[in-house]
């Protein structure tokens, strides 16, 4: 049984259909990559899986771990073990990164976490991501550079330990060093948690250190092609033009 199973998913935003019947199947612990030109609907797919209310599912189903989550709310989907790393993480004034993660962790695990244990884990994860410890007590994403925002997303991934992580262009806007650090964080998630990854990306730098199981190309809100890792090399060489009808 697949961990994530999407069948014939159609999604509209403000009455405009963006996804026209997407199929996707991701097994537990697998790494899948979603590629496609700008405006293909890649991020829409991520938000739709996550149950974001702006993205209306008009047809099809989304199942996770054998359970239909098509109509579930975002918070319940997150509690079931799906994590979305945002392309543009939102600034939340007044709530520190540390308190946000602690609250979220208590929600997804359903357990009270001892402050000392939490702080120790957080410090370790921040160190692994080469993050300045002072960021823990700063307001969530407020005044963070693009790179720090992406690191804060991966930090949440490492702390929340979901069984499926959707990474929406996590590597975009990052310099070479930051891509390396973020990639190391994703590798650490795979190693420690063994969760599945659905990586939405334009570039392939972030994939270098990962064992990719399947690559899916989406064009104009439809599945255009699917293959193994070799598809990434093909796209690097020939672009997306070959899939546009």
């Amino acid at each position: 049984m697949a961990l994530l199973e999407i069948k014939g998913l159609k999604v509209s935003v403000e009455d405009k259909e963006i996804l026209h019947g997407i199929d996707l199947s991701v097994g537990a612990g697998e790494t899948h990559v979603i590629m496609g030109p700008n405006g293909a609907g890649k991020s829409t797919l991520g938000f739709a899986i996550m149950g974001s209310p702006e993205y209306e599912k008009t047809d099809g189903t989304v199942s996770f771990d054998g359970e239909d989550i098509t109509e579930e709310s975002t918070d319940k989907i997150a509690k079931k073990g799906i994590f979305l790393s945002f392309q543009n993480p939102v600034e939340v004034p007044g709530v520190t990164l540390s308190s946000f993660i602690r609250n979220a962790l208590e929600q997804v695990t359903g357990e009270r976490i001892r402050l000392w244990d939490f702080k120790k884990k957080l410090a370790k994860a921040m160190e692994a991501l080469d993050m300045d410890p002072s960021y823990a007590e700063r307001d969530l994403n407020v005044g963070f550079s693009g790179g720090e925002k992406k690191k804060a997303e991966i930090l949440q991934l490492l702390m929340l330990r979901p069984s499926l992580a959707i990474l929406d262009e996590t590597d975009s806007g990052l310099d070479v060093d930051a891509v390396r650090t973020v990639s190391a964080g994703i590798e650490a998630y795979k190693k420690d948690v063994g969760g599945a990854l659905l990586i939405i990306t334009h570039s392939t730098k972030i994939l270098e250190a990962l064992d990719v199981d399947r690559v899916h190309v989406i064009v104009d809100g439809k599945n255009a092609c699917e293959g193994g890792r070799e598809l990434v090399d093909n796209i690097n060489e020939n672009g997306f033009e070959q899939f546009v009808k």
Binding site: D75, A78, V92, G94, T96, F100, R112, L115
Partner: protein, 369 residues
């Protein structure tokens, strides 16, 4: 005194807006001597007589004249001075020392009608820390009480006082919290005001920034819920050159709460190169709250810089989606955001025990630092 007029706006507006001031007949009548462990380095004066006031409570001209005469006129205003005098309240007069902080804890019971006053002189060059707590014996009680407290601060040259106030009163308590300061040259007044609970609160703070480079820094956070009401009047009277007034108010309104914030930066002639800023950010958690804000910048001096801003509303859809994507439901998000505002102000309180008490109130059963 049967009625008291408080929180007069330094520049009046249309009467029908009902923002110029408040007349109240719920008055504390029993003089209450402050009992506090005064640190050994501090001195206590034998003079406990209240001064009273001959200024009309609704006359900005008279208030201004008194301020130019280096007097303290408090935020609630002259009627509070008159009430204190009439009730024969023994004023605790102290001279501060930098050695140890002063903590004054006021615990009110059901049926109390207590009125207290403290006047602290901070000598030249001394940096003092004062914590004042206003707490109901049983914060969950339905009992009535009407209480008042006045703090006067005479801040010397190059002196400073950090005043932290915490209010945690039961839902039927009427409370008058009155502050007035006189700031000599480079005299600095820092106030952290955390209002967690209380039935009807009248809060006033006015600083007479007479000295050159004197300053005021107010960080206020409030949670007004149920049928509670908060009426605040914060005023910076900037007379000295290069004075600085910073007023930041962060609040949360829930249920059927009512709140009026008046914040005034008043640049007087001679306050050359002074700056002032006042901001208020209100999180409104219900459609039934009443939120009113009067940000005032008055100016009779050219070379000054005044800024004001107010934001209100609920967390944006973007923020909601982001936080929900981490497993938090709407109520939990509201709860986190509301407590975060109070936590941020509480973290600035100097007294560790007081910080702990706030944390226990805001996060019951939770392990905090």
């Amino acid at each position: 005194m049967e009625k008291m007029y408080v929180n007069h706006l330094p520049c009046i507006t249309w009467k029908w807006l009902k923002m110029n001031g408040v007349e109240s007949s719920d008055l504390p009548v029993s003089a209450s001597r402050i009992t506090a462990d005064v640190p050994s380095g501090w001195t206590v004066s034998d003079d406990t007589a209240a001064q009273g006031s001959d200024i009309a409570a609704n006359s900005n001209a008279e208030i201004e004249k008194a301020l130019f005469a280096d007097k303290i006129v408090t935020g609630l205003g002259p009627d509070m001075d008159r009430l204190i005098k009439e009730a024969d309240v023994p004023v605790l007069r102290l001279t501060a020392s930098a050695d140890e902080p002063l903590v004054i804890e006021n615990i009110y019971k059901d049926g109390d009608s207590k009125l207290s006053a403290v006047e602290i002189t901070i000598p030249d060059g001394v940096d003092a820390v004062v914590t004042e707590k206003f707490i109901s014996e049983d914060v969950c009680s339905d009992g009535n009480a009407v209480c008042g407290f006045q703090t006067r601060l005479i801040i010397g040259k190059n002196a400073s006082v950090k005043l932290d106030q915490v209010q945690k009163l039961a839902k039927n308590v009427v409370f008058y919290n009155d502050i007035g300061t006189f700031n000599a040259e480079n005299g600095r007044f820092e106030l952290v005001e955390v209002i967690l609970a209380g039935g009807s609160t009248y809060f006033g703070s006015r600083s007479n920034l007479a000295g050159r480079e004197s300053s005021l820094d107010i960080e206020m956070a409030y949670l007004v819920k149920g049928k509670e009401a908060l009426d605040s009047n914060i005023a910076a009277f900037q007379r000295g050159k290069r004075t600085d007034a910073q007023i930041r108010v962060n609040g949360v309104l829930k249920d059927e709460a009512k709140k009026l914030t008046k914040a005034t930066i008043d640049f007087k002639t001679g306050s050359t190169d002074s700056v002032g800023s006042e901001t208020e950010d209100v999180l409104m958690m219900s459609d039934n709250v009443v939120n009113r804000t009067v940000p005032l910048i008055l100016c009779t001096e050219e070379s000054v810089e005044g800024v004001h801003g107010a934001t209100l509303g609920r967390p944006s859809e973007e923020i909601m989606t982001y936080m929900m994507s981490r497993g938090l439901d709407k109520n939990q998000i509201y709860d986190i955001m509301e407590k975060a505002r109070l936590d941020a102000a509480a973290a600035k309180i100097h007294d560790e025990q007081t910080r702990r008490e706030i944390a226990e109130y805001l996060h019951p059963g939770e392990e905090t630092e």
